[in-house]
């Protein structure tokens, strides 16, 4: 086990080395004058961090992101549970989320701006539109696919409907709910940046737009890199939480 863990750490480091190495090489060739090397970008990132630009930017970006993701998670899991448990509700609401998932968001942004202005509300909406459908649809699917034998077990051992939902359906659906949450959160990150690029340039979106306009490409890539890093870190935290909450699920389901 210990060996396996250290090996997987080595593999992670190796793959990081390969990707960043390739980036560095591509930047040095150079592929394009607008493509800085890895080291230049990291220097820019350090500079942005040290002069505090990055922190003020994230204070701005994280607001719609956190609010949107929180709304999407709570409302999305709630709606998903409801859709999964009730066929009528499924019929009523599923199509909305399927359409939401399929809709080209960039084309909807002008409509949102018209309705809600250029402030926080619109940005939160963009994050929600990105994050919510996958959370809702995953949750609903997982709930609907709860193995019928364990639900039957709950009934035969006199579980109330509430017991069965809380102690059987939700824990059983949790791995897929969490994977929906992970996908939803990463989509939320995309939504947050998209809204800052398309609605009003604030926060990290502002760094990206501004550095591009003055051809400060290392800063632009530094900002993009930082948001990816943040997303990855957040997803890892989410995975940790899942592992702590549902220990027995790590190895998947009892299949045979």
């Amino acid at each position: 086990m210990e060996l396996l863990r250290s090996r997987s750490l080595h593999l992670k480091l190796l793959s990081g080395l390969i990707v960043f190495g390739a980036w560095e090489v591509a930047g040095r060739v150079p592929v394009s004058y607008a493509f800085p090397t890895f080291l230049e970008s990291m220097q820019a990132l350090l500079a942005l961090t040290l002069d505090g630009t990055l922190f003020t930017a994230y204070a701005e970006t994280l607001r719609p992101l956190v609010v949107g993701v929180a709304i999407s998670a709570v409302l999305g899991i709630g709606l998903g549970l409801w859709i999964g448990l009730s066929e009528k509700f499924d019929w009523l609401f599923s199509p909305i989320f399927v359409v939401m998932q399929a809709a080209p968001l960039a084309a909807l942004i002008p409509l949102l701006v018209m309705a809600y202005g250029i402030g926080l509300t619109s940005k939160v909406f963009v994050v929600c539109i990105m994050a919510m459908p996958v959370i809702v649809l995953n949750t609903a699917g997982a709930v609907r696919n709860t193995p019928s034998s364990i639900k039957e077990m709950g009934r035969s051992f006199l579980g109330s409907r509430q017991d069965i939902i809380l102690k059987i359906v939700i824990p059983s659906a949790s791995p897929i709910i969490f994977s929906g949450l992970r996908l939803g959160v990463s989509a939320g990150f995309i939504g947050a940046i998209l809204s800052e690029l398309k609605i009003t340039p604030t926060g990290v979106g502002d760094i990206i737009t501004y550095s591009r306009s003055i051809a400060d490409y290392p800063s632009m890539y530094a900002a993009i890199f930082s948001i990816i890093l943040l997303a990855v870190l957040f997803l890892n935290v989410l995975e940790r939480i899942e592992n702590i909450l549902f220990k027995g699920n790590i190895r998947g389901y009892v299949s045979d």
């Binding site: 077990m153 006199l158 017991d163 059983s172």
Partner: protein, 268 residues
């Protein structure tokens, strides 16, 4: 040989003669146009093991789930100790074919789960569960998860869960069909001593003729389309014998042959 074509003929050697823990009266069950069970009447003597045997699709699991209160009959009624069944009740516990364990819960929590749903305090239910975990031979595995156990051990967990709620009637839906042959034999022997030592009524669904004859006090043969009880067989002589001698008892072998002869034409 004590064999009878009628459902209320009870062998003279049976204890508690005439006292039935469970009775099914004129049960019919339709799924749309399909008649799964038709006008089925059957009695289950208290303290004994009755198996439901028949070809696949003969509705034996449907009947068991109706007795459990998990399915509603289209017509007819089931009585458990004189009370009509309207849903699952504390007088019955179910052992599932696929074990139906919670994969995220430890053995201890799985076994205690029936008590947990009844609102028993945690320390009490864990004490009871630990006792039954030891009884079924899983002592030391309290904190293991189902995926760490073999199929046979998982079914022992399912059995301990059913025993721990102390129901008078134990409903077993092909409980040994998903475990390997050697484990199954051990299970069958354990089941015989369970029937003897626990004052419970067992209803046992199986598709294995040998298994049914080996473990049962009474075998109800169900024939399909639509299902009805075609015959009730009560092995007489070898039930009192030692477990090691049952499989070469002439009556045991005769009954197996006889059941096969009547089922043969229904097996595709």
């Amino acid at each position: 040989m004590a064999m009878s074509q009628t459902d209320n003929a009870i062998d003279a050697s049976a204890p508690n003669e005439g006292v039935n823990a469970v009775t099914a009266h004129n049960i019919s069950k339709n799924y749309g146009d399909v008649e799964a069970l038709k006008d089925l009447t059957l009695e289950f003597p208290r303290g004994q093991l009755t198996s439901l045997l028949g070809p696949s699709g003969c509705g034996k699991t449907t009947l068991l789930k109706i007795i459990a209160g998990l399915l509603e009959p289209t017509s007819g009624e089931v009585q458990v100790n004189g009370k009509t069944v309207t849903g699952p009740g504390p007088d019955r516990a179910f052992v599932f074919q696929d074990f139906a364990l919670l994969p995220w819960a430890s053995v201890l929590r799985n076994v205690a789960f029936g008590l947990e749903l009844r609102g028993i305090a945690k320390s009490t239910r864990e004490d009871i569960a630990s006792k039954y975990i030891r009884d079924v031979g899983l002592g030391g595995f309290e904190n293991a998860y189902p995926h760490e156990l073999s199929g046979g051990m998982r079914q022992r967990v399912g059995l301990a869960r059913a025993l721990s709620v102390d129901a008078k009637v134990l409903l077993m839906d092909e409980p040994f069909s998903a475990v390997d042959e050697q484990t199954r034999r051990k299970f069958q022997e354990d089941l015989l001593s369970l029937v003897q030592n626990e004052n419970k009524t067992f209803i046992f669904v199986t598709h294995s003729i040998e298994e049914a004859v080996y473990v049962s006090d009474q075998i109800a043969i169900l024939l399909p389309r639509p299902s009805r009880v075609s015959e009730i067989i009560r092995p007489a002589s070898f039930r009192s014998k030692d477990v090691d001698n049952i499989r070469r008892d002439p009556e045991y072998l005769d009954i197996i042959d006889r059941i096969w002869a009547s089922l043969r034409s229904y097996v595709e």
